[in-house]
Amino acid sequence: MSPASAWATAFRVFAQLRRDPRTIALLIVVPAALVVLLKYMFVGSPGVFDRIGVPLLGLFPFITMFLVTSITMLRERTSGTLERLMAMPMEKLDLLVGYGIAFAAVAAVQAVVVSFVAFGLLDLHTAGPRWLVVVLAVLNAVLGMALGLFLSAFARTEFQAVQFLPAFVFPQLLLCGLLVPRDEMARALEIASYLMPLTYAYNALQRVGADLIDARLAGDIALIVALTVLALGLGAVTLRRQTP
């Protein structure tokens, strides 16, 4: 590990994002706009907004960071810059950690803005502490980023990488418990949901929403962190220094 290379990479990714204000706007504005949409969709049944608002707040960053990182990493592979970095004294983990720092920071801004809109302007209620929702949103963003980095190795084109969203993220969203309690699904799907990282992200958010700050919440958070580390490790394995 070399913190200098990781920080250099983080600043480089920031600089790239800064050159692309439209993407930044989309990253910040779209989730906020979707929360507004939700609020007025369920204007006739306000309990629903409170029930799904908190989990969605924490899951948006997962989805956006998954997509943004898988495309950024794919570009790094196809443009030849990855090959160049791999010929330099750059540790693979430094590269991944650099990405992690940059996108976690973006996710933090995203989570704070969306939380402000939801709690401050749209009167979203949560029994648990709001700051913990923001912390979970950032953790989920880093998890989404790590999975995006890993899965980008399996895409050859940006078209394919974009398709990983419906292929890989949508099933997790459907099965994580957000739409239907998991124990009401077919048994096979319930078992499958245990294998999906987003399930634990949703569990944690739901517990914070209900102010259940307990050992199970700590367990879910520990799992999110462990899965992030695992995905980063797998991502490092897919970064081959030598290719055939």
Binding site: A8, F11, G80, Q242
Partner: protein, 239 residues
């Protein structure tokens, strides 16, 4: 030892993309001079270059750079590599690109401005690479390869698509770097470029056809120019 070659390959075989790309290649690259790696497209030039810089899986045979096995981590800070396509970040400015690579290579900050001048991009310093011409982009990529003051500079077709003035300037720069002690391996599919090189290696179909100075090649083949000499060697090899 000044006579120690920078690169030595012995019986090098490389399969790239399922096809044999290098076949029993034994060759040396002399230290401190410009060696031209010549041959038509698909002859294995890029594969040899990728093998030397350590990003290519070698099937069999030996390849040593400065006495170390190619791909050793200790070599990564000693080799500068310019890929065939300009592999720099197209959404960053010239300066931002070089600053990033300088940080990765632990090069001092002054090096960045020094290099921008060396490749003649002072006017483009803060322009986004995407907005530059092909030749300017190639020069950003070249500057990136020079950031770490490498002992061995490996350049994959650095002059392709550049105008004659720029090509001449680059070759002058390569010769200057060599006179300062850097070893250069420069690939090209334009045989005429060989005249700038102290040594040449001719590759054809993954095999080494000939090595030596450009004059050696002309004498051996009795050809008028290097292109003609190369064609005669190819005919000889085919026969």
């Amino acid at each position: 030892m000044p006579d120690e070659p920078a690169v030595v390959s012995q019986g090098l075989h490389v399969i790239r993309g399922g096809r044999p790309a290098l076949n029993d290649l034994s060759a040396t690259v002399k230290a401190g001079v410009v060696t031209g790696l010549l041959g038509p497209s698909g002859s294995g030039k890029s594969t040899l270059i990728r093998s030397i810089v350590g990003v290519q899986v070698i099937t069999s045979g030996a390849l040593r750079v400065f006495g170390l096995e190619a791909g050793s981590s200790a070599l990564r800070s000693r080799i500068g590599y310019m890929t065939q396509a300009p592999s720099v970040y197209s959404d960053l400015s010239v300066r931002e690109n070089l600053v990033y690579f300088a940080r990765v290579l632990r090069a001092p900050g002054e090096r960045v401005d020094e290099l921008i001048e060396a490749v003649g991009l002072e006017q483009e310093r803060d322009r986004i690479v995407d907005r530059l011409s092909g030749g300017q982009r190639a020069r950003v990529s070249l500057a990136t390869a020079l950031v770490g003051r490498p002992e061995l500079l490996v350049l994959d077709e650095p002059t392709v698509g550049l105008d004659p003035v720029l090509r001449r300037d680059l070759w002058q720069m390569f010769e200057r770097l060599a006179s300062e002690g850097t070893t250069l391996l420069v690939s090209s599919h334009v045989m005429d470029e060989a005249r700038h090189c102290a040594e040449i290696m001719l590759l054809y179909d993954g095999r080494l056809l000939a090595t030596g100075t450009p004059d050696d090649l002309l004498r051996r083949t009795g050809a008028e120019d290097l292109e003609d000499g190369f064609l005669r060697l190819v005919e000889e090899a085919r026969a």
